[in-house]
């Protein structure tokens, strides 16, 4: 018998999936701005392709979360509640221990966490804030012919700074979220699979949340071995 907890809904996984594709496509098509050698090496066609692609995926990056917000506003409120949940002693201890944990998981015992780990609350918050700002500044840039150079300058600066923030956080996000790091192995299916965690995984990563969910039982799925 294995017990699972349904951690992420189908809608959340789809939004995350589309945004993942959009995000990587935006980074790739944005490289023409970041690395001058790219357009020089691949010629005008690469520029035209990048510009069109950046806009298409930019629309997806902005519109899909907005659609999800309209379809499931409670889900967004839930995300915000988790992000802004008050930090307790375990949250602070988690952050204090995390640098050691990152290099020595064998000898580091991490405190139990609630629905979203304290570290992830910081990185998710920064990602969402940077995502919103890069989306808004992207719309302003698209309307570049109709705004003043001063506004354009602000939008470009915001776009560049947010890109830096997102690129840096993405590296960590993928390392942990995709389960590249040994203690996080298997967690990739949370967003790219059925959205479930085993009871053992839940207890290891989010001890307080696991206890609450198991006690409540509404999101618990039990499967029996054949």
């Amino acid at each position: 018998m294995t017990r699972y907890i349904q951690r992420h809904s189908r809608l959340k996984r789809w939004v995350h999936g589309i945004n993942t594709v959009s995000c990587f496509a935006l980074i790739l098509t944005g490289l023409v701005l970041f690395i001058p050698g790219v357009p020089q090496a691949f010629g005008e066609a690469s520029v035209a392709f990048s510009r069109l692609g950046h806009r298409v995926f930019g629309v997806a990056f902005v519109v899909i979360p907005l659609v999800a917000l309209v379809v499931a506003p409670k889900g967004f409120v839930h995300i915000l509640q988790n992000l802004f949940a008050k930090w307790d002693a375990d949250d602070r201890k988690f952050m204090a221990l995390f640098p050691k944990y990152l290099f020595a998981p064998q000898t580091t015992h991490m405190p139990p966490q609630r629905a979203v780990k304290s570290g992830q609350r910081l990185s998710d918050g920064a990602l969402i804030a940077a995502g919103i700002l890069i989306g808004i500044s992207g719309v302003v840039l698209w309307a570049g012919a109709y705004v003043s150079p001063a506004v354009l300058g602000i939008a470009l600066a915001v776009h560049d700074v947010c890109f830096g923030i997102i690129a840096a956080i993405m590296v960590v996000h993928v390392y942990l979220g995709a389960g590249v790091w040994q203690p996080y192995r298997g967690l990739v299916r949370l967003m790219f699979g059925n959205g479930r965690v085993t009871e053992a995984e839940a207890r290891y990563h989010w001890g307080h949340w696991a206890e609450e969910e198991l006690a409540r039982g509404t999101n618990v799925i039990t499967e029996y071995a054949e």
Partner: protein, 269 residues
Amino acid sequence: MTENAILYDSSKCSACKGCQVQCKQWNNLPSSLGKDTNEFTGSYQSMADLNGDTRLLIGFDEKAADGGIEWAFGRRSCFHCTDPTCVSVCPSGALSKLDDGTVRLDSSKCIGCKYCTAVCPFEVPKYRASSGVSNKCTLCDDRTTAGREPACVQTCPAAALSYGPREDVIAAGKVRVEELKTAGFDKAELYGETEMGGMHVLAVAKFGLEAHGYKRNPKAPTAAMIFDLMRPLTALGVAGIAAVLSVSFLASRGYERPDAAVDATKEEN
């Protein structure tokens, strides 16, 4: 190589706009010819500002004076700075600086990012929506490299525009300013000798810089500094984080999460 420059003498300019027309003609840039297609600016100036199809504009400033109206004309176009902010932020290499001081724009390399529009202290490069690229004066580098004058200079009937070695242009400009001061125009100034590291379009401002629409002490905006900073910072940041995580990965080799123990306990229960 000798640096060249244009000298615009506002005291000789009659604002005939021949230079505007010739600029469009040489560079195959369209003009709005329909009735009322250009916004009325309140003066004879047409149009209100540079745009994607207009690289050169003669600005009009008029004041009531004894015996009629006093005009102050200004030539608005790229100044071809020695320290061009637009070149430093251009990610595609479309903007480059030639040895003669020209800030060249190669439209075939432009990716339409508008960085140049955002950082130019004079707000000169404009986005050309019809072709999706930036547009600005190139000092007619296609003509000057063939030994000819820029189109606007060639066409000026009042000899208000001249082109030649920058040192000669500066000397001529200073002489003209002194002549104007002697004639009673105390505010006469030469613009472009030192601004932005020294510009390659200089202007004799008969009534002082402000009257002719020239910005005193122009500086690159903060946004330019952010662009210059963010590229290496992002690259270094991402590389640094990836390096740290690689060490983490190697240090965690052989580690297995204690899921099995938990599952086994549950099985017993």
